[in-house]
Amino acid sequence: MDCLSMFQSPTLGHQSFHTLLPFYSPQMLKAVAFQRRAFSMPATVRPTQSTSPPRHPITPPILSAEQKASSSPAHFYQNRTLDYYVEQRVTPITLRQLVFFGKRLNDERLIKSANYVRNELPVRLAHRIRDFQQLPFIVGSNPHIQLVYDLYWAAFEKFRKVPPIETKEQNQEYCNLLRTLLRDHLVVIPQLALGISECAQHIPAVHANHFMNTMLRSRISRRVITEQHLALSESSQDMNNDDATVGTIFTKCNPTNIIEKCIALIETRLSGTAKCPPFNIDGSTGCGDFTYISEHIEYIVFQLLSNSVRHTLQFHKHNNAPPPVNITICSNDTDILIRISDQGGGMSPEAYRDLWSFTSQRRFKAFETIPQMAARIAEEEEIPWSWQGQEDQHLGIGLPMSKVYSEYWGGELKIMSMEGFGTEAYIRIPRLGNQTENIDFEEAQEVEYVPAWESDERHTIVRHSSILGQ
């Protein structure tokens, strides 16, 4: 199906979308180029790696003019291939299914797994590409958004062209492809975050947040099945199989261990710069193990703990003995609950309202000064300190990302704040593993309260929760 030949006419020529509507003034473009260098980083924190975070300057892959889908005039007509995949339904899986499958691994099952991934990835990616295509045109013209779109389209093209896998050698090749793409797409999150925040004036906040949340969820879902398959492929060659690990899934997850691991990491990173506040762990510390992708929980706990520590230290700057961060573990038949309670001064109502927002300008306040700074190259060294902080924090994406991770298998993350005193975070992780992936983002959200006497709608729609009373 070669649409290109139909449209090689002198009139269409080589017009590219980039020139049609410049998104920025020249100063902003320079600033954008600067940011691209600084903010590419891995999406998941792997605490088992080296203690000080190496700055991975992963530059976005340079796509040639032919590869840049959005700039190709034929792209609109090539889109028909996408339609086919968009019409197909995603097959979400449960954690239990993954474990069951991975425990009794043999060659035949490995090939089956490869084909599952091979079928799922293009479909899941196609749905998200369609989301991009539905964005308002001006939003889609944003360079960051376009970069991700082009990356996704290129990946989609590669994925859909993979033939059915029948041998282990083919599986190996496929795994190599997967690894390359995983690495190249590490820039997606910062790019999307920057792009969406820049588009705050062109798109209602509700849509922007919905778009971002859907993107992030889908991204996790693709990475989970990909990384699981990669891990299974690797372990199938590795003779000493650790019984407790099934690919990326750990069957002996223990909340106390996870929390202690994160605390150790924070203490190491802080050592020398500031005195770490004490940590108290109470509750069901002796609760039994459960099965989960340990990395997800570690990410969430690490984000929340580092927020607590950062705020506690800042709020009690002049105090030699900062108050402790209290962690409570609760375990019941269906869930593991972790409450992290700090005395870091809480947050103002405005900050609380924008906690999960991707479009809040407050988050990216530092960026307002960029156009002036980037214009004078010598100023580059005077970067505000916050940019050099923790990897995710300067983009403000740690919390929304934690929320997406926690909700992925049907859990929850809730934050409550007492301004002037401290903040509480509540994490709920389902322990039975029998819930399917949450890939689509539900519309029902926590609606801002309107008193019954001020509106005709007596019943506001609130998402079902196992932590929050309604």
Binding site: S331, M418, G420, Y426, W453, H459, S466, I467, G469, Q470
Partner: protein, 406 residues
């Protein structure tokens, strides 16, 4: 037109009375009911528009120095406004399904509102500067406020019994309106009463300068929490033999502007719930009783109070209904074995501010309504298997709420 209506009314009541007399039914009682059906007064007042007063005005009425003029204005406002609001409450009762209206508890409250409306109605047409009648009016108001003190528990009992006759949506709408209006009526009434009395007792006024009517500009949450905690401890010990310790921390020295009775009511409810859950859970698991922690925070625009217990939390199924009226996690009294001691303790439980320690299912929704009245909030989070956290956020009643209409 009014004369004709009255004539019609009399003629009909007499004829019905004759019929009823013949059937040996008490004529007096039926005359009362019949009168209230044909009485145009209620509709007359209920269809008048409400004139809300802003919080700013309400406070201004009572700000020192108290002047004759501001008192007269306040009294005049209360005199003309309260009958209208009471009439609307009466109308709301009249619109309830018939079977619900025949429930003795609900009927009692309906009658009470009707009589209150009736007794205040004659003051509403008096001229503004009638000082003598102002004092009389204040006395009458005071009496009424006392008589209405136990409305909510009675209504709660009534609606619990009527659960199967009324759909949840309508009941919630009725109760939301009812409670919201009640808070407003009482606020205006009590403010008026306390101002009129304060103006007559200048010395007393000087002693409590932090008060503007029933609003305390230097209310200490810690003090109120101590007070409520003591009360709940007593109640708990009476009922269970032991009570949890209450730990109060955070910004204990802070003060803010609020209506003390509202805060007391909310805190008592929350502490009661926390204490009950803690003791019952500890007994069930045969463990020592853990403390209940209450933390206070002073924010830029509001006060935060967090009640944290280790009472085992709330099950996810119950969580979705926890703020519904008449939803309770306490077992129905009728199904429990009753003996003389449980009867006594039940009576003991029914004392105190706001009603029983548990069981009627009104505590949380009511407390939340109070919290929201001045733009605050109440949020409950449960760690099922461990305990609950309840967050109360209350706005300072100050300039920023000035435009809030009561």
């Amino acid at each position: 037109m009014l004369i004709r209506a009255t004539q019609l009314c009399l003629r009909r009541s007499l004829s019905t009375a004759r019929v009823l007399k013949n059937s040996n039914v008490s004529v007096e009682a039926s005359q009362n009911d019949v009168v209230s059906f044909y009485d145009a007064k209620v509709i007359n007042y209920a269809t008048r528009p409400i004139r809300p007063v802003t919080l700013k005005e309400l406070i201004r009425f009572g700000q020192p120095p108290l002047s004759e003029q501001s008192l007269t204005q306040c009294a005049h406002y209360a005199r003309t406004e309260l009958p209208v609001r009471l009439a609307m409450r009466v109308r709301a009762f009249q619109n309830l399904p018939f079977i619900v209206g025949t429930n003795p508890h609900i009927k009692d409250i309906y009658r009470l509102y009707f009589e209150s409306f009736d007794s205040l109605e004659k003051y509403s047409d008096l001229p503004e500067n009638d000082n003598g009648s102002d004092l009389e009016f204040a006395e009458k108001l005071k009496d009424l406020v006392e008589r209405h003190a136990d409305n909510i528990p009675t209504l709660a009992r009534g609606f619990l019994e009527c659960k199967k006759y009324m759909n949840t949506k309508d009941m919630t709408a009725f109760l939301d309106d009812m409670i919201h209006a009640r808070i407003g009526i009482r606020l205006i009434a009590e403010q008026c009463i306390s101002l009129i009395h304060a103006s007559k007792n200048e010395s007393e006024d000087q002693r409590r300068t932090s008060y503007i009517g029933i609003i305390n500009t230097q209310l200490s949450p810690a003090k109120v929490i101590h007070h409520c905690a003591d009360f709940v401890t007593e109640l708990c010990e009476f009922n269970y033999g032991e009570a949890p310790e209450f730990i109060i921390n955070g910004h204990v020295d802070t003060t803010f502007t609020y209506v003390p009775v509202h805060l007391e009511y909310m805190l008592t409810e929350l502490l009661k719930n926390a204490a009950r859950a803690t003791v019952e859970n500890a007994k069930k698991n045969k463990k020592p009783i853990p403390p209940v922690e209450v933390s206070i925070s002073h924010g830029s625009r509001d006060i935060g109070i967090r009640v944290r217990d280790q009472g085992g939390g709330v099950k996810p199924n119950d969580l979705n209904h926890i703020f519904e009226y008449s939803y309770t996690t306490v077992k129905n009294e009728e199904t429990e074995d009753s003996n003389i001691f449980s009867g006594i303790t039940r009576l003991a439980m029914q004392s105190g501010v706001g009603g029983p320690i548990a069981g009627l299912g009104f505590g949380l929704p009511l407390a939340r309504m109070y919290a929201r009245y001045f733009g605050g909030s109440m949020t409950l989070l449960s760690l099922n298997g461990y305990g609950c956290d309840v967050f109360l956020k209350l706005k300072h009643i100050d300039e920023s709420l000035g435009q809030l209409e009561i």
